[in-house]
């Protein structure tokens, strides 16, 4: 699925990376614990989180995550957005909560990437 479809499905706001919305993604990982994400996220997975600090962007950087989605109206700081922009990571914000965000994207075809 293209990141642009995620934007539509989640009625999300794109805070940086508007020029990268055509990128394809297949898997996703949702957690507020970054060490869970680091242990379980697959290559190229979209990261959904309710945590809002610079380590989210750092974690995305370590995993080559193309897109971070902040759920339940969390708003990253400008410093975090700048950090993501520098690393060419798309940042989206949605008002949906974690469960709904996961459900909507799963139904639309994203998976956790498990065998």
């Amino acid at each position: 699925m293209k990141i642009s479809e995620i934007v539509d499905l989640l009625d999300a706001e794109c805070l940086t990376g508007t020029d990268m919305l055509e990128k394809e993604v297949k898997t996703a990982c949702g957690s507020d614990m970054m060490s869970d994400v680091l242990a379980f996220a697959k290559d190229n997975a979209v990261l959904m989180t309710g945590l809002c600090n610079p380590q989210v962007i750092r974690t995305a950087e370590m995993l080559d995550t193309p897109c971070v989605i902040f759920v339940r109206s969390k708003r990253p700081t400008q410093a975090m957005i700048d950090m993501a922009e520098e690393r060419e990571i798309v940042v989206l914000a949605t008002n949906h909560r974690m469960f709904s965000t996961c459900g909507i994207l799963f139904q639309a075809g994203l998976t956790g990437g498990e065998k």
């Binding site: 614990m33 869970d36 380590q55 750092r58």
Partner: protein, 140 residues
């Protein structure tokens, strides 16, 4: 051996927002050197988890990364409380992280096991009240 590349970093505990800068820099350098992406990924994840631990469980320290012809060697040395029971600390889910650390998104007890998983060899030596030294190697 003089061909080996060595990178050194000071990890400060002062600023949590900067934790991970050393790992990010190593990742950038490995990519630039053309190291295979799977190796870059394992090194990045292992080093980042280790660097975070140095900040949230200890008082900071030093990271040295050496790239030889056949492997990447990471040495993480911190000043800190040490780890009383390494075997326990290595178990998935074991964590002594405080609520404030958990609020920052860490403290699932996944870091050390993931470091072991990502590396080909990992060795921990720790002294209570002095600090911890972790050596990890990833083969090229």
């Amino acid at each position: 051996m003089e061909d080996n590349l060595v990178f050194e970093y000071v990890v400060s505990r002062e600023d949590f927002t900067r934790a991970g800068e050393a790992s990010a820099d190593v990742k950038k350098k490995l990519k630039a050197l053309g190291v295979p992406s799977g190796v870059v990924r394992r090194v990045s994840i292992a080093l980042y988890e280790g660097e975070i631990n140095m900040v949230v469980h200890a008082y900071g320290g030093n990271i040295t990364v050496e790239i030889t012809s056949d492997k990447i060697i990471m040495l993480l040395k911190d000043k800190g409380p040490g780890i009383p029971d390494v075997e326990k600390a290595m178990q998935e889910g074991f964590s002594t992280a405080s609520d404030s650390v958990r609020a920052l998104g860490f403290g699932a007890g996944m870091g050390l096991p993931n470091m072991k998983k990502c590396s080909d060899r990992m060795d921990i030596s720790t002294t209570i009240g002095v600090g911890t030294e972790i050596k990890m190697e990833v083969d090229l």
